[in-house]
């Protein structure tokens, strides 16, 4: 089945009693047992909830994994995955990671004796050089935030599998609609489902999909034990969002390609990062592995004063954190999403005080261009 169809079909198989085409929201904490030693398959909502499970099952199908687990946030998903490791373990991670992930690694798990090496994971030799005998996993973003570097997942997976390392891919920016990391050799894929999957800027949620059934059991154990699960209402909203994932992303990408081209020609814009542009370093890789280039754009303006001007003057495009929703959002990574990254690293990566990140929505592109035009006008 085509992935766009699979996305629309999420949750449809569920309610055999009434035939309802929308999965019921099981707002329940517990489930009555038919008898001692018997169970309906559900005991307690932290351990399993039919609404959440419908989302998890649908997501496992979309990403071609053995199982999926849903969490209270994208960060809760990543934290729960980190509980797979123990003190002394080492991970090689993408250097321009989302600031929240970076904070979690450096300020929470670092003190529990997990160590992290930050490297440019688009450079396989750099990944190889960072490996130590304690290395247990490589954690990358398929398309990085905010500089949109593209990861070579097939190359990373062959390196990881030779050495029995886990390859974990944060696929938030691409979603399974555009790229399926498990098909390319990754072991685990993680999402902030608050972004494209839910897609309406109205839910905080995280998802993990695991390729191998045995590893999936270990991940599930931690989902249940640490209990950072997604509630039934939010599970239902994420499924509702996924149904329009294909049409949303189609339109968002179309708008993003036009906007990237327009920004590139604008005199006040000094640099545009978008994988769809032919001169983008990951362009060829993106064409090879992905069905599209996504709908995130980063760009530099001529001076810092313009940053404030743009953020204050855009009318349709909201100045707000987050991304991936139907509404276009603009953010200032240096102080918003990436404030937790050390300043030296930020500077080296190019996350500076003239960089803006644009999450392109599904508005009419003519209006978005007009909004940016008037905001950039001096």
């Amino acid at each position: 089945m085509n992935i766009g169809t699979q996305a629309v079909q999420i949750g449809l198989e569920w309610d055999t009693r009434t035939g309802a085409v929308s999965v019921p929201i099981y707002q329940t904490a517990t489930f009555r047992h038919p008898g001692l030693g018997q169970s309906t398959g559900y005991d307690y909502t932290r351990s399993g909830n039919p609404t959440r499970q419908s989302l998890e099952d649908g997501m496992a199908r979309l990403d071609n994994g053995a199982r999926a687990c849903a969490y209270a946030s994208g960060m809760a998903a990543i934290t729960s995955l980190l509980l797979l490791f123990r003190s002394g373990d080492h991970l090689v991670v993408t250097e321009d990671l989302y600031g929240g992930t970076c904070r979690l690694f450096d300020k929470v798990f670092d003190q529990f004796g997990l160590t992290f090496s930050y490297v440019d994971t688009s450079d396989i030799a750099a990944v190889q050089a960072a490996l130590t005998p304690q290395t247990k996993a490589v954690f990358v973003e398929s398309l990085t935030n905010p500089l949109l570097k593209f990861a070579d997942i097939p190359a990373l997976s062959s390196l990881c599998h030779d050495l029995s390392l886990l390859l974990i891919v944060d696929n938030t920016f691409l979603t399974p609609y555009l790229l399926r990391p498990l098909d390319l050799g990754a072991d685990i894929v993680v999402y902030s489902a608050s972004k494209y999957l839910s897609g309406h800027n109205d839910t905080i949620a995280g998802l993990v999909v695991i390729k191998d059934a045995e590893m999936a059991e270990r991940v599930y154990y931690r989902q249940n034990a640490a209990g950072a699960v997604l509630g039934p209402q939010d599970s239902w909203l994420v499924m509702r969002g996924i149904k329009t994932l294909g049409v949303r992303l189609d339109r968002q990408q179309e708008n993003a390609a036009k906007l990237a081209g327009w920004l590139k020609k604008h005199p006040a814009v000094t640099k545009v990062y978008y994988p769809g542009l032919e001169d983008h370093p990951g362009h060829a890789l993106a064409k090879r592995d992905s069905r599209g280039f996504g709908a995130m754009i980063a760009f530099e303006v001529a001076n810092h004063a313009l940053v404030e001007q743009v953020l204050m003057k855009t009318r349709l495009i909201s100045f707000a954190e987050s991304l991936g929703g139907v509404e276009s959002l603009i953010t200032f990574p240096e102080v918003q999403t990436h404030a937790d990254i050390p300043p030296e690293l930020r500077a080296r990566l190019g996350i500076n005080n003239t960089l803006l990140r644009l999450s392109v929505g599904i508005e009419d592109c003519v209006d978005l261009i007009e909004d940016l035009r008037q905001a950039l006008e001096t």
Partner: protein, 378 residues
């Protein structure tokens, strides 16, 4: 403000914009910002959500704390709070601690270098003997689950305070209506809000509450970084449940006292564990630190056959996991709440195969006793 009034008005002022008495459900992931230099109070819903915040303020007020934090489950509250400790730290834990807490301590936190000793917390000398130079926390339930053992909380604080040890109390069974551990000198109160606080068996949620602002900042950092937060719909439902906490608890407790007394008259009931009974070993201590014995009791039957019949034949008490709802729930600790504890350990702690736990709901007590009588006929 008296407790009953605080339940209705604490942390739940009318919406200033519309005057709505119900706290609005802010189903949003992000917030539009007005200024580049000064972000508004709300920037991303994992960090702050007004619906969740109203609930957190209400709980902090009821527990006489300075701050409360809402989590995706009771276990998420416990796991997040335990992340404030460091590798090498040691915890003294009551031996019949909830099975989920036992599991997370022994399987996950042990791997991260946090060690736990399980002791009979009814004995202050046993707690004191277990304290080591590296002990950083004493983790208690009073009453404990499922044997309703009572710990002298003031006595523990006297041991812990001079040594700089943090006292954590899971106050799920009592709720702040009956017991306020922070007022007794304890440092952190934990809750499975799924139980009496929400009270309708329809939400999974958890809380951590503190008095000390520094401890509050440490938990707040983890809440945001780990991200195991409670969603807006579940936050609203818990606020709604909270309003009837006192009248629910009054009714359930009154019924529990009657049922405990009735069970004591039955020949086939070997033992009744309920702190409201004058012969309960913790009766006096509980009366000195709490305003009531609560609405959960457990009892041992003369045979496994009778136990099985009871679990399967009751009409009004659902045989299910969980407790603290408007519905009476009967559960079987050996296979449910304490299934994660190895059988040998379990039996040593007195959690026998003939032990059942009853959470008394709001049904008429005569119906509940009639229902029990049809199985426990003598």
């Amino acid at each position: 403000m008296k407790f009953a009034t605080q339940l209705i008005h604490g942390g739940q002022a009318a919406d200033p914009l519309t005057g709505a008495l119900g706290v609005p459900i802010y189903q949003t992931s992000t917030y539009r910002q007005q200024s580049v230099d000064h972000f508004g109070k709300y920037d991303y819903a994992r960090s702050d959500n007004p619906t969740r915040e109203a609930l957190e303020e209400a709980i902090a007020g009821l527990e006489k704390g300075s701050r409360a934090f809402a989590f995706a489950s009771g276990m998420a509250a416990i796991s997040s709070t335990l992340l404030i400790f460091s590798p090498g730290d040691h915890l003294v834990v009551c031996e019949d601690v909830y099975g989920g807490a036992y599991r997370v301590l022994t399987s996950i936190f042990q791997r991260l270098g946090i060690r736990s000793s399980f002791v009979d917390a009814t004995r202050l000398d046993a707690i004191e003997a277990a304290i080591r130079p590296e002990t950083k926390g004493i983790y208690l339930e009073s009453p404990s689950n499922p044997l309703l053992k009572i710990t002298d909380l003031r006595g523990v604080v006297e041991l812990a305070r001079p040594r700089g040890i943090i006292t954590l109390v899971d106050n799920t069974f009592m709720t702040p209506y009956l017991q306020r551990p922070l007022e007794l000198g304890c440092d952190i109160v934990l809750h499975s809000g799924t139980k009496f606080l929400n009270g309708h068996s329809d939400v999974i949620c958890g809380f951590a509450v503190v008095g000390d602002p520094d401890l509050g900042n440490r938990i707040r950092f983890i809440q945001n970084a780990f991200g195991a937060i409670l969603g807006p719909q579940d936050s609203f439902l818990t606020l709604r449940g909270l309003k009837t906490l006192k009248i629910r608890m009054d009714q359930s407790q009154q019924s529990a006292e009657k049922i405990a007394a009735w069970l004591q008259t039955r020949k086939s009931v070997i033992k009744v564990h309920y702190p409201g009974l004058a012969d309960h070993p913790g009766h006096a201590v509980n009366a000195g630190q709490a305003d009531g014995p609560g609405a959960v009791l457990s009892f041992e039957l003369e045979s496994y056959e009778l136990t099985k019949q009871l679990l399967e034949r009751l009409r009004f008490s659902a045989f299910a996991v969980s407790l603290g709802g408007v519905e009476s729930i009967i559960s079987y600790p050996a296979k449910m709440s304490h299934a994660a504890v190895p059988k040998e350990e379990r039996e040593k702690k007195g959690i026998k195969d003939t032990l059942v736990r009853l959470s008394v709901g709001l049904e008429d007590v005569d119906d509940l006793i009639d229902d029990l009588q049809q199985v426990i006929s003598r």
